[in-house]
């Protein structure tokens, strides 16, 4: 509960704002998890990335890290504009079967997501971590985002959901990096974004190949390889 104490002792509007944005990141993760339509998932992903960029901006402004402005701009360009538009383009070429790839009941899965996020939050809360850039709750929320992203990939059976799940995992990691490592070597951060770019290309390519072969975006028939 030490976190509790320190934050109550020294509240500030900026960190409050940061927390609200971090909560938005998690909320959009849940929304992605629930969303039936691939298109709305991609839009939610764009919104989540926008929140992450906003967080980067907040950190840049409060701690005066010039590089972070660049990083926020790059991630805005890449994750809010480029990645969603690439996936949207793939979707545009596809007609039909965009909805409802839940393997289990949504309500059940939402309860699982709640349990997972509570787990993530408590694990991180127990860590002796103090951050100068962002309040620790953001890290706990990032952990929850990562876990729910995993669940999303597991319980959805279409390539778009799975790709979006992976990208939102990266968003969670981005938030964690803002909390833990606001001064991480710039080159590593840029490399991270570059990787994301390449991942988009690979995912986009594979999605298209997959659709070309199977004429569907569902992954239900991808179970030939077993054992």
């Amino acid at each position: 509960m030490h976190v509790f104490a320190t934050l109550v002792a020294a509240p500030s509007t900026v960190t409050d704002g940061a927390e609200t944005v971090a909560v938005l990141v998690l909320l959009s993760q849940y929304a992605m998890f629930r969303a039936g339509l691939s298109r709305s998932q991609v839009r939610l992903y764009a919104f989540q990335s926008l929140s992450v960029s906003a967080l980067a901006l907040i950190v840049a402004a409060t701690r005066h890290i010039g590089e972070l402005y660049v990083l926020a701009g790059l991630s805005l360009l890449l994750k809010v504009i480029l990645v969603p538009s690439v996936i949207m383009r793939v979707l545009k070429e596809v007609r039909g079967d965009l909805a409802g790839s839940h393997r289990f009941g949504v309500a059940t899965m939402v309860l699982c997501a709640i349990v997972l996020s509570v787990f993530g939050v408590f694990v991180v809360e127990g860590m002796p971590i103090h951050s100068k850039s962002l309040p620790l709750p953001a890290l706990a929320l990032a952990a929850a985002v990562v876990l729910v992203a995993f669940l999303l990939v597991i319980v959805r059976s279409d390539v778009v959901s799975q790709a979006v799940g992976f990208f939102s995992l990266e968003n969670g990691v981005s938030v964690a990096s803002l909390v833990l490592a606001a001064g991480l070597p710039f080159i590593a951060e840029v490399a991270f974004l570059f990787d994301l770019l390449v991942a988009v290309v690979v995912f986009g390519l594979l999605m298209r190949v997959h659709h070309g072969r199977a004429a569907t975006l569902s992954t239900r028939h991808l179970e030939r390889l077993r054992g």
Partner: protein
Amino acid sequence: MASAHVIALRGGKVSGTELDPAEIQVLQDLTILAFAPFVSGAIAHFEARLQGRRGPRILQPYYDIAKLFRKETLVPEDASFVFLVCPVVAIACYLTVPLLIPVLTNYPLPLGYMGDILGGGFILALAGFAVALGAAETGGPYAQLGSSRAMTFGALIEPSILFVTFTVALVTTTDLPYFEAAAVRSSFAQFVHPAHLLAALAFFLVVLSDTGRIPVETHASTLEFGMIDEARTLEHSGPPFALLKWGSAMKQMILYVILINVFVAPWGLAGSGQLGAVLLAIPVFLGKALGIGAVFAVIDNSFSKLRLFKITEFMAAAFLIAVLAVLVLYLVGR
């Protein structure tokens, strides 16, 4: 109730514009009683306008209720006296709850300590139970269908209400609605606190479900299969039906009061017992209620109703948000 009236009568002797707390308390009830049909009518009118229709008059609910009071009462053959008592019990419940919540004043009135949010919730649930019981009494298939559905979904939305209450309790260390409202008023930071926003959102969803709005129910439909709340009153007629209609408008108003004056916009309430201030609080509240009502109407027009078995997903979402509110509060602190 009875003691409140006694106090009110004695308070009437106090001269000047300073109102006795008991008088204010009565005024709260009267506000709900008098203006609930107005708010319902205004929302229905606005909704019709959104759909490009001219819609009913804003005062139509009053005319409906007045007409029903003039009609005879028909009781199904198999129904007992419970059928007729239930609407009265419901309206009594709806008259009790406004005594507990901040309708007009921003400071707690004496009877405000009589029950907390949970207490108010119980009384509302009792009203719901009474209506369901009355419906079950008739033996009519649709009425029974409606009452069983209403009880089921009522039970499913209950956890969300509980978690919203927990949030309030964690913020204020009480679960009296007055203190939550005061906490929200206290600073902007408190207002944009993620936990508060989440709790407000969760409660918004609860209201959406409890007032029978899309995506849970099409509140103005005549299609029995999708009905939940509406189906329960199908067998009623005459004055008891008028009470039920009135009661449902009051329930909606009460929920709006809690949503607005506790969570979303607890401003514009009377800060003292001055007659002018208290009377001014009425139109201010009505304005806010119409604003929220407009939001509900827009939602009604922009989404489609969920299939019955998908409603649990809606409930799960509300629950998720409510849990998240508690979680965030635990993490972030007050």
